[in-house]
């Protein structure tokens, strides 16, 4: 209606467009900054809790279970285990991927937290818990301070992980 009114140069005006714009300077904090600097270099970085030894990826400032500050920085691998997943049949605004696609929770090797990432390279009815996957990175010249450097994960030719190895992450 308003667009029509805006473009109609003869009839009565019935609507107007009133854009609102908010400009922020976003800072992700020290822990996520460390993670994003790793992404810029093609690395997956985490932090280990000195108390429970769990590795958080992306890292936080401290361990939410133990309440202690993280000290040690660790590099985890870009291979991992698909611990759970959802088959997506409906797209949402600003995200257009061929349907259906699989949104997967991946436990990267060396990490104790899972990361949600797009899974491709396998028919949706063949996706299963325990599948071994590897990150597919964007071309190096497109690497930014962003998790989106990992475009998606794809299956790799390895036996499925034993359920006991990831059961606490399901």
């Amino acid at each position: 209606m308003t667009e029509t009114a805006e473009n109609d140069t003869t009839g009565p005006v019935t609507g107007i467009v009133t854009p609102i714009r908010l400009e922020y300077r976003y800072t992700p904090g020290t822990a996520a900054s460390m993670f994003l600097r790793g992404m810029k270099q093609g690395e997956v970085r985490g932090r280990r809790c000195p108390s429970c030894s769990k590795v958080y990826v992306p890292p936080r400032a401290g361990c939410p279970m133990c309440g202690v500050e993280f000290a040690e920085e660790v590099l985890v691998k870009d291979t991992g285990t698909l611990v759970t997943f959802a088959v997506v049949n409906v797209n949402f605004a600003n995200r257009v991927i061929d349907l259906p696609y699989v949104s997967a929770e991946v436990l990267f090797d060396g990490a104790d937290t899972t990361t949600m990432v797009l899974l491709t390279g396998v028919p949706v009815d063949e996706v299963r818990m325990g599948m071994r996957v590897k990150a597919h990175w964007l071309p190096r010249e497109q690497w930014d301070f962003s998790m989106t450097n990992i475009d998606h994960v794809e299956p790799i030719d390895e036996p499925d992980a034993d359920y006991e190895s990831y059961r606490e992450h399901v």
Partner: protein, 157 residues
């Protein structure tokens, strides 16, 4: 690529611009719609209220009687008038009418009994209450308040 700022020391944080925009659309209703239609034709319209005053911009309801104002009752006023009050804006911000210093002014157009707020493009030492100003129309009018680009010193041409 994003415009991330990275001081690259382990204790510093990254920083990046983050912009949110909401392109709202609003229906104008019969009275404001008629006012904006007038602006598109480079004509300012006001509403004569129950006290006989001409109010610009026109309200949708009479301030005295609360009766609905009819779009058919709007009356034209002049494109020039007098500054009744003003405030100097020395450091304009993004999205304001000019990127150089200018005045915000209340202007009572000839034929109107109320003043309307808009930008006044004039040198600092030229602006005063009581000065005569005229509308500078946008090069292309579209039916919005920005059809009045600003006010400038002088009488209508």
């Amino acid at each position: 690529m994003s415009a991330v700022t990275d001081a690259a020391t382990p204790t510093t944080v990254l920083e990046a611009p983050h912009v949110m925009e909401f392109p709202y659309t609003r229906s104008t209703g019969p009275v404001v719609g008629a006012f904006l239609t007038g602006l598109r034709d480079r004509q300012v319209l006001g509403a004569r209220d129950s006290a006989g005053r001409v109010v610009v911009p026109p309200p949708e309801y009479d301030a005295g009687t609360a009766e609905a104002v009819s779009a058919g009752d709007l009356v034209p006023v002049a494109s020039e008038g007098v500054v009744t009050s003003w405030s100097w804006n020395p450091t304009p911000r993004t999205g304001q009418p000019f990127d150089r210093p200018f005045a915000w002014a209340l202007v009572r157009l000839d034929g109107a009994d109320t003043a309307l707020l808009h930008a006044l493009d004039a040198p600092r030492d030229a602006v005063r209450t009581g000065m005569r100003v005229r509308i500078r129309w946008a090069q292309e009018t579209t039916g919005g308040v920005h059809d009045i680009a600003c006010f400038e010193p002088g009488e209508a041409q």
